[in-house]
Amino acid sequence: MSCALLLLLTSLALVMGTGTAVEIQRPRGVPQSKRQFYEENKPFTCLDGSSTIPFDQVNDDYCDCRDGSDEPGTAACPNGSFHCTNAGFRPAFIPSSRINDGICDCCDTTDEYNSGATCQNTCREMGRKERESLQIMAEITKEGFLLKQQLIHEAKRGQEDKQGKLTELQGSKKGLEGKMEALRTVKKTAEDPEKEAKERHLKSWEEQKELIRMEKDKTRMAEAFLELDDDADGYVSVAELQSHLELDPDSDGSLTETETQGLLGGAGKVDTSTFETVWSGIKDKYLSEVSTYVMKTYVIQSFPYPKGSPGSGRSNEVSIIRFENANVCTLLSASQSLICGPEFIWICRNLEKEIGFDFGPSAEFAYLYSQCYELSTSEYIYRLCPFNRVSQKPKFGGSETNLGLWGQWAGPEENLYSVMKYDHGQGCWQGPNRSTTVKLTCGKETVVTSTSEPSRCEYLMEFTTPAVCQEPASLDEVLHGHTEL
């Protein structure tokens, strides 16, 4: 029942800069901006308008207003908030539930006025420290922001360069493609007559081959006739032929007289002119008495490839065409390898990729591309290659683990470029694929400052870079902007 005593509070606040003390009276826990709603000795209307209560029920440690506005200085309302002036530091609102809970929340100790907690007023100290750190931060931001401007400038130039290079490459590719097209036409024009000549050449060669073959057959027939005509009477008789068992038509091992007569076309003997007909019937089986080896060789030799020329007058023409064609081919394949070769494709693709990356609103992150940054911990070396991958390698041997490949910018809507997400890293046993979140903060240098694994296989990396430095507000603004007087 002692709570009503605590209704009003006299607080001292130092007006920054002047050092003059001013006395302000207002109900405990109310910010200056809302002072007007708490008029002493007048009924108080809850700030949400829900009800009106006598002023002595304001801060009487009983919650009357649904919005908690009648108890800014007590813990009575579940949804109330308490304002600490924190002179010398930054004013703050804390949930009402932290009033008199035995824990010092406001640096000016005003939240613990009835809990027995002994709190020290640390506002000045905190203010000093904050000013110092803000100053440092402001300097960092300032320098960082300058660096960032430079980065943007370089990125713009780099981008232009690359775009230029790409355009140039694409231009030269186009040129080469044009040239290739022309060469292809040349090649085709040259190749058509060659093809005709080649066909003509082949045809005549076939004709010649047939003539040769016939001549050779005739020679062979004459030789066979001579061989068979044992008595040299100008006739091949049944008896003379019968010794050639290989000609046996039913292959029963014996060549009878009737069978032999059949081979001779029913006649008892034949002369050279009639032998022509007989020869065509037996030549496939006939074995020369001289040597089967010679025969076989002969057969093989009768099918030479028509390489070179059998001495026709057109051979010069063919070789000229071939020469020209070789030139075109070399040119073509050279261009082809320029356009389609791995190197060209690689350069083009990388340029395209790089130009296609989201390097931030002003491409300020472009300088990170194709760079890598390492951080060594007690166990591992972590490696961040922005826009590429994150990896981890044990310090004392062992293979590298992929902690994620570049995914996307993943900051909150209003600050998208403050977080990078790398995912689809190496899989975890019974778990997800490894992934890494990289938090970017403003710094003069580009460094990985810390790594951790808050959840199994989900890594967190902190990374400073000038590229996220925002245009610094003036130091005064930073220090005094929200200070309530």
Binding site: A76, P95, S97, P454, R456
Partner: protein, 886 residues
């Protein structure tokens, strides 16, 4: 050919269970029939405290000794042992809190068929039939319970045994499962419960509250095991074992406590279980129905028969009876009833600080942050990882500054490492469990090769307790408490992931006392926490393994569950079953341990867990982080609201635990406990009561749009605690729900104290004022209590430093009067607000205080809901006062 229990165990170890027919189990294969046992009435001796009588097995002439005791508080103890065992059989020590006081039995009549004994004034008799031997407990003409009526009493007597070559082979395959040198030693006894259709208890099983019949299936198994990803609706053994079964009918509640710590099986059969509703109707119409009856049969692998029959007759009586035997729930520090944030693992000190900060940033209260095994130096308990936790005291001080606390894990497997002090001391003192050859038993667990301290040895326990002293456990502080995990014990390379049955605890095999190990671990740890404070502070120790009596040492949780909806649902019957047999401080891992919960499941689990006794979120190492604020602002708000509801209700929780501690009444109760005649409630396990005044029906269905809650009590009313809407009792009420709904109802006729100012931890709320919620019965009556003490010491007990008040509303006056005149405590807390539900509008409200002062109170009346709110009585919570409404 049937198998002995040992052979069956070997078989299970070989995983050939599938191919083994249960019926081949020798002792279980016994069919009901004529018992070979006969009572030798000429050996009967009756003294002041007990009756003794010899039994003889007519088949093998082995004699047993029966001892019968009538215990104070309406209980009967039946003890059966071999008359002359080859060596003593194991009798469970340290579970009963004392030698249960007896009352004289008087012999009413005796003839050659048996004897009739009086069990006291309630016309209760105990009939001992001689041939065959059988016991019947009667009340008037009604049989309450019969023992050996089915002739299943069995006793494998100890003998000198030569090991067969086949057994030697089995021992190679499954070392440690070989028969003890004195042969198989199983025991068995049947119990028939006429008129009973519902039996409960015998945790721990992931099954429904009402136990199922086991005909044609496996029996319920009690054998403490570290089960990986346990299955639901299954009689398989889990981490803990409490061999206590409750039977209930509209007429009577009874209990059977089978005091045996060996591997135990329970078979349940029922003559009505197989019948359809139609069949039962037909029986009813034809008037031919036999009386419903449940038959139960207990089997244990070794030890003796030592059974306590608790005769009720009410559920409350059974709870008192059981707690008079094994003690009551430890009264936890108030903060242990608040919210616990756990994860395997919080990585390092920075992580702990960040999570702590996260709770403040998101304005979610919590009291305890937990560190799992990774906080240690190489799984050496009582140590810290020097890189991740280089300054544990700084970390703990950071928590002290926020009035918060920590729990670190201390498991009972000790790394075998000669540079580890704990190991060296245990080894040099000979405190390790031994293998059968006398060497230290070793097995694999988290640290690799480990020894297992013999917690059954009181000297070992005393030494263990001394290790928790602040100068022994380096880096520990008063706000650091303990978690005992893996205490079944878990042995990764042991049979069924536990200790070999032939491992030796002194002269006893693990086979004899397996289920006791976990109890002893928690007992020694709790003792350590008490000792380190010089006996001043209440300990808080969480255990995974447990036995009858474990309630005296702290909290248990349902082990390594899974982030699935069915696991959320099963948490209710699992904790209800534990509550029925003494263990009130029960909870399940919020969110589910294995796997990752959907956001909806996580929110629903917080909402359910907020209304279960032990409220801790926990997660497996391989799951993504799931601190409450990681699922977007809407879900953060939902979780915050659930946790805040818990904190606001802490005065009621604390009061319920005071009662659990004081009188053994469960905190979380099945409905039938309070509505024992309402058969509709007998199988309900999707809703529950907290104390007798709050009914909770959490939403446990994915995408749930509504729940149907059963509000019991004809002529009673229930008030929705969120809307204050009044509903009639004895109805199924459909409640449409949204994702923010937690259906909770306050019984008309009750008064519940809350603290509406939810702060960042329960300690911060210590001196806050109370709001009283008075829910009027239809007769405009209400009654409740208010219990207050310092929240953390034993002074409430030793120096009677507490406030216990009766709050009652009758004749339009609400008053607070002292329930404990001998007690004394001063609180700065006061009565902030009184909300009367189901009220009518008074013309004025006057507060009268003992000094004779009268003050008019301002009030508000909501006519649409009949809610009267009295503004700021302001009176101290510890004094007499009356508010009169006119």
């Amino acid at each position: 050919e049937c198998m002995t229990l040992c052979e069956r165990a070997i078989c299970r170890c070989q995983r050939c269970e599938e191919s083994t027919d249960n019926e081949h189990d020798c002792i279980r294969a016994l069919k009901p029939g004529q018992s070979p046992y006969r009572a030798l009435l000429e050996t009967l001796e009756l003294t002041n405290t007990k009756l003794t009588l010899q039994l003889i097995n007519d088949n093998n002439k082995v004699r047993l000794l029966l001892e019968l005791y009538r215990l104070q508080g309406n209980m009967t103890r039946v003890k059966i042992n071999e008359l002359k065992p080859l060596k003593p059989r194991f009798e469970v020590p340290d579970v009963l809190i004392n030698d249960p006081p007896t009352e004289p039995l008087s012999l009413l009549s005796q003839d050659e068929n048996g004897v009739v004994l009086s069990l006291g004034a309630d016309s209760q008799w105990l009939i001992v039939s001689a041939k065959p031997f059988r016991l019947d407990i009667m009340e008037g003409r009604e049989v309450l319970l019969s023992l050996n009526s089915r002739g299943l009493l069995a006793f494998e007597h100890l003998r000198i045994r030569t090991v067969t070559s086949a057994e030697l082979v089995l021992n190679v395959v499954c070392p440690g499962w070989l028969f003890s040198p004195t042969g198989p030693s199983s025991i068995s006894l049947d119990f028939s419960l006429p008129g009973v259709e519902h039996v409960y208890g015998i945790p721990e099983h992931a099954d429904s509250l009402k136990l199922k019949t086991t005909d044609g299936g496996d029996p319920y198994r009690l054998f403490n095991l570290d089960v990986f990803q346990y299955e639901l609706f299954n009689p398989m053994a889990l981490y803990g074992a409490i061999p206590v079964m409750l039977s209930h009918s509209a007429q009577r509640t009874m209990g059977i406590f089978w005091l045996n710590a060996a591997e135990t099986w329970v078979d349940i059969s029922s003559n009505t279980a197989g019948k359809t509703v139609f069949g039962q109707m037909l029986d009813y119409v034809q008037g031919s129905s036999e009386t419903p009856q449940t038959d139960v049969r207990w089997i244990s692998e070794s030890g003796i028969i030592d059974v306590f029959i608790m005769l009720g007759p009410t559920p409350t009586d059974v709870f008192s009876q059981y707690s008079s035997l094994t003690g009551t729930q430890a009264f936890p520090p108030l903060s242990a009833l608040a919210y616990h944030q756990c994860r395997w693992n919080y990585n390092d000190q920075e992580d702990v600080a960040a999570v702590d900060q996260g709770f403040d940033e998101h304005d979610i209260p919590y009291d305890f942050i937990w560190l799992d095994i990774e906080h240690t130096d190489g799984k050496r308990y009582f140590t810290w990882d020097p890189h991740k936790f280089p300054q544990p005291k700084d970390m703990l001080q950071g928590l002290v500054d926020k009035r918060r606390k920590m729990v670190t894990i201390v498991d009972p497997h000790i790394k075998v490492d000669s540079s580890y002090k704990i190991h060296n001391e245990i080894r040099s003192k000979g405190f390790y469990v031994k293998n059968k050859d006398g060497g230290d038993y070793e097995g694999w667990c988290w640290p690799g090769n480990s020894g297992y301290p013999d917690f059954t040895n009181p000297e070992m326990r005393a030494w263990w307790a001394s290790m928790f002293a602040y100068d022994q456990y380096e880096g520990s502080m008063e706000n650091m408490y303990t978690w005992n995990d893996m205490n079944e014990p878990s042995v990764f390379n042991g049979p069924e992931v536990t200790m070999h049955k032939d491992a030796l605890h002194g002269n006893w095999e693990n086979r004899d006392l397996h289920n006791l190990y976990g109890l002893y671990v928690q007992m020694a740890t709790a003792e350590g926490l008490i000792e380190r404070s010089g006996g001043v502070e209440r300990p808080f120790v969480l255990t995974r393994a447990f036995f009858a009596g474990s309630q005296r040492y702290g909290a248990v949780w349902t082990g390594d569950n899974t982030a699935e909806w069915e696991h959320l649902k099963i948490s209710i019957p699992m904790c209800l079953s534990l509550g029925l047999v003494g263990v009130s401080f029960c909870g399940a891992d919020v969110g589910g341990f294995f796997k990752s919960p959907s956001t909806e499941l996580l929110v629903r689990w917080y909402q359910t867990g907020a209304y279960q006794p032990f409220f801790r979120a926990h997660a497996h190492l391989d799951t993504p982080r799931r601190e409450p604020w990681l699922f977007g602002p809407e879900n953060t708000a939902l979780i915050r609201e659930a946790v805040r509801q818990r904190y606001a209700l802490l005065p009621y929780w604390y009061q319920l635990f005071y009662h659990a501690h004081h009188s053994g009444q469960p905190v979380m109760r099945p409905l039938w406990v309070e509505y024992p005649q309402d058969t509709a409630t007998f199988s309900m396990d999707d809703q529950f009561l907290l104390g007798e005044d709050l009914l909770v029906h959490p939403v446990t269905e994915e995408g749930g749009r509504g729940v149907t809650a059963y509000l019991p009590g004809k002529g009673e009313v229930w008030f929705d605690v969120h809307t204050f809407q009044k509903h009639n009792g004895a109805q199924n009420l459909y409640i449409p729900v949204t994702i923010s709904s937690i259906p909770v109802f306050q019984r008309g006729g009750s008064i519940i104290p809350r603290k509406a100012r939810v702060r960042r931890s329960s300690s911060c709320m210590e001196h806050d004022p109370y709001t009283l919620f008075v829910a009027l019965s239809p007769k405009r009556f209400a009654q409740g209590e208010l219990y207050i003490d310092d929240g953390h010491t034993f002074n409430f007990d030793k120096q009677k430093q507490f406030i216990h008040r009766r709050l009652s509303f009758a004749n339009k006056a609400l008053s607070s009067r002292n329930l404990a005149p001998g007690s004394q405590f001063i609180t700065p807390s006061w009565i902030e607000k009184i909300v009367i539900l189901g009220a009518s509008k008074p013309s004025k409200a006057t507060l009268k205080t003992p000094d004779g002062k009268e003050n008019l109170l301002e009030f508000e009346f909501d006519a649409s809901m009949s809610v009267l709110t009295l503004r700021k009585p302001g009176v101290n919570a510890g004094v007499d006062w009356t508010v009169v409404l006119q």
